[in-house]
């Protein structure tokens, strides 16, 4: 990133992927964006461009956004070939125009993969991630009043590591960055954030088997250990979690195959 504190306005050309619908053919269209404040966020710049388009009676560029604070995982643009654009550890909404130079051509594409079909322009359907979460991204607990704090001891190191994994905002940059459209980093983060806690143990094996199985069935690709995912992750989640999930999955598969099962058909009573 260019550390530029000047307020000199800049003008860029946006080369945006326009696609009217999932079944429509798309194409790149150039839009000039003139006299922008370098302190504008990338999404604010898109807002300005969209205002101009609307005034002219053209269809504004559809793009996904929500919190604009880098914590919701909704924004999802591949900017100049890198998911979430220049910089490390930032989501698209935290990219500022000072990262670009006057006269730049900025290519903007949706996050894409076979399981992430384009809905319109820069918006893709990432509900495949929800299906993976539904398969095992939860723990079964007694719902009711909150349990006493610290009633279940959790080592600080485990809690810290689990928090690193839990930083995942589910944006899908890992899938977009992977040449194989693999969701391993996302699934690894979600498997690990629960698997590292005592509360996650009863369903640990079931969880990893179900989530990986669902990931495979949804058509995500396989990991080639190139670590493009963690390089593109706006939360800089480490691919160490992928190694951890691999170990967890293999161990669960072996345990599942060899552990004794109760012959009883009834309950305890």
């Amino acid at each position: 990133m260019v550390a530029d504190n000047s307020s000199t306005p800049l003008s860029v050309t946006l080369r945006v992927w326009r696609q009217a619908g999932p079944d429509q053919p798309g194409k790149f269209v150039d839009y000039p964006a003139k006299d922008l404040s370098p302190h504008m966020s990338f999404l604010e710049m898109l807002d300005v461009v969209n205002d101009e388009l609307t005034t002219k009676g053209e269809e504004p560029i559809a793009f996904a956004h929500d919190c604009r604070e880098g914590i919701c995982g909704t924004c999802s643009c591949t900017i100049n070939g890198k998911p979430h654009g220049p910089g490390r550890g930032v989501a698209t909404c935290q990219v500022y125009m000072r990262s670009f130079r006057d006269g730049d051509v900025i290519v903007v594409e949706p996050f894409q993969a076979q399981p992430f079909p384009v809905i319109k322009d820069l918006v893709t359907d990432r509900s495949a991630f929800d299906k993976i979460m539904q398969a095992g991204g939860f723990i079964t607990v007694r719902a009711g009043s909150a349990p006493d704090a610290n009633s279940i001891p959790v080592p600080k190191e485990d809690a810290d590591l689990a928090m690193d994994a839990a930083a995942c905002i589910g944006c899908g940059a890992c899938v977009a960055a992977c040449k194989n459209a693999s969701a391993m980093l996302f699934v690894a983060a979600k498997v690990s954030q629960l698997g590292l806690f005592p509360q996650g143990q009863p369903e640990r094996d079931k969880r990893v088997l179900a989530m990986v199985g669902t990931m495979d069935s949804l058509g995500f690709g396989n990991c080639t250990n190139q670590y493009e995912c963690s390089a593109a992750c706006p939360k800089t989640i480490s691919h160490d979690f992928i190694a951890r999930m691999n170990r967890d999955y293999l161990a669960a598969s072996f345990r599942h195959a060899f552990k004794p099962a109760s012959a009883s058909t009834g309950g305890a009573g």
Binding site: W17, Q19, P22, D23, G26, F28, T78, N80, G81, K82, V107, E109, P110, Q112, A113, Q114, P115, F116, P117, V118, T124, A177, K179, N180, A181, S182, M184, L209, V212, G213, M215, D216, G219, F220, G221, N222, C223, T224, N225, Q226, Y227, E228, A231, A232, S238, H239, D240, A243, R244, M245, N246, R247, D248, Y249, L250, S253, F254, H256, A257, F258
Partner: protein, 261 residues
């Protein structure tokens, strides 16, 4: 799903098969190199070693079948995973070329180095095991070598002095005296080393033994291993090519060349 089902049909399972078969093959190429480096000792060594391996009979076939199975599984896993990966990349959106952020050269080249390694293995077997290429210099068509000393394995004399054995020593040197063959070997083992660099690193990631705590060290170990492996392989054709390693004393060219086929 069952264990076998998980290993053969899940992404992580197939990668595990790829990693484990790859490791077996890494073990094989290390052993193969160490065995071959005996060429720099007296001809008794490599010729005795070759005769010893052939003498193993059924055991040799067990090893061959295990290796073939590993090669087969490794290629099968690579193929199905690659096809799935391509399909996963298909979408209704733009088809932009991938821009790399940090993937290593070895990882980006791994499929291509794999193709070259496969071609090389087939050629290598054709040349030195089956005698389909370079027939005139194939061990079966060279005069037999008489062992001047015992060849010992773990202290046991497995091939006795005076035994008539195939002259692998001369076959290798005659084979590598062709610059084209030697250069192909050098390029191929170079690419194999690059293949192993990504493979070795990936093995630890796939089985889950890699983490930031030691991934830097692991990469260095892999680099040193691959460099050493390449150099070890380079010196055999290399030294023949530059004339530093010549035919053994007393080698006589066969009177009739390639009578069988």
């Amino acid at each position: 799903m069952s264990l076998v089902g998980n290993l053969f049909s899940s992404s992580i399972g197939r990668k595990f098969l790829m990693a484990v078969t790859g490791l077996v093959l890494v073990g094989f190429v290390i052993g193969h190199l160490v065995g071959n480096l005996q060429i720099f000792e007296s001809p008794d060594h490599i010729n005795g070693y070759a005769a010893f391996l052939h003498q193993l009979g059924p055991l040799l076939w067990v090893a061959r079948i295990v290796l073939l199975l590993c090669v087969g599984l490794h290629i099968w896993a690579a193929t199905v995973l690659t096809l799935e990966n391509r399909e996963a990349r298909e979408s209704n959106g733009p088809r932009s070329a991938k821009k790399w952020i940090r993937a290593t050269l070895a990882s980006r080249m791994v499929r291509w180095t794999g193709y070259v390694v496969l071609a090389f293995v087939l050629y290598h077997l054709a040349q030195f095991t089956l005698g389909v290429t370079g027939t005139a210099h194939f061990k079966e068509n060279l005069p037999r070598y008489t062992m001047t000393a015992d060849y010992r394995v773990a202290g046991f004399p497995v091939i006795k002095a005076g035994a008539e054995v195939l002259d692998v020593h001369s076959m290798v040197i005659l084979g590598f005296q062709s610059p084209l063959v030697s250069l192909f070997y050098i390029v191929a083992v170079g690419l194999l080393s690059l293949h192993l660099l990504h493979g070795l690193d990936s093995f630890f990631q796939t089985v889950g033994w890699r983490s930031a705590q030691w991934s830097g060290t692991l990469r260095k170990i892999a680099l040193v291993f691959c460099a050493a492996y390449f150099l070890g392989n380079l010196i055999i054709p290399g030294s023949v090519l530059i004339g530093a390693k010549g035919l053994r004393e007393g080698y006589k060219a066969p009177v009739t060349v390639a009578t069988n086929r």
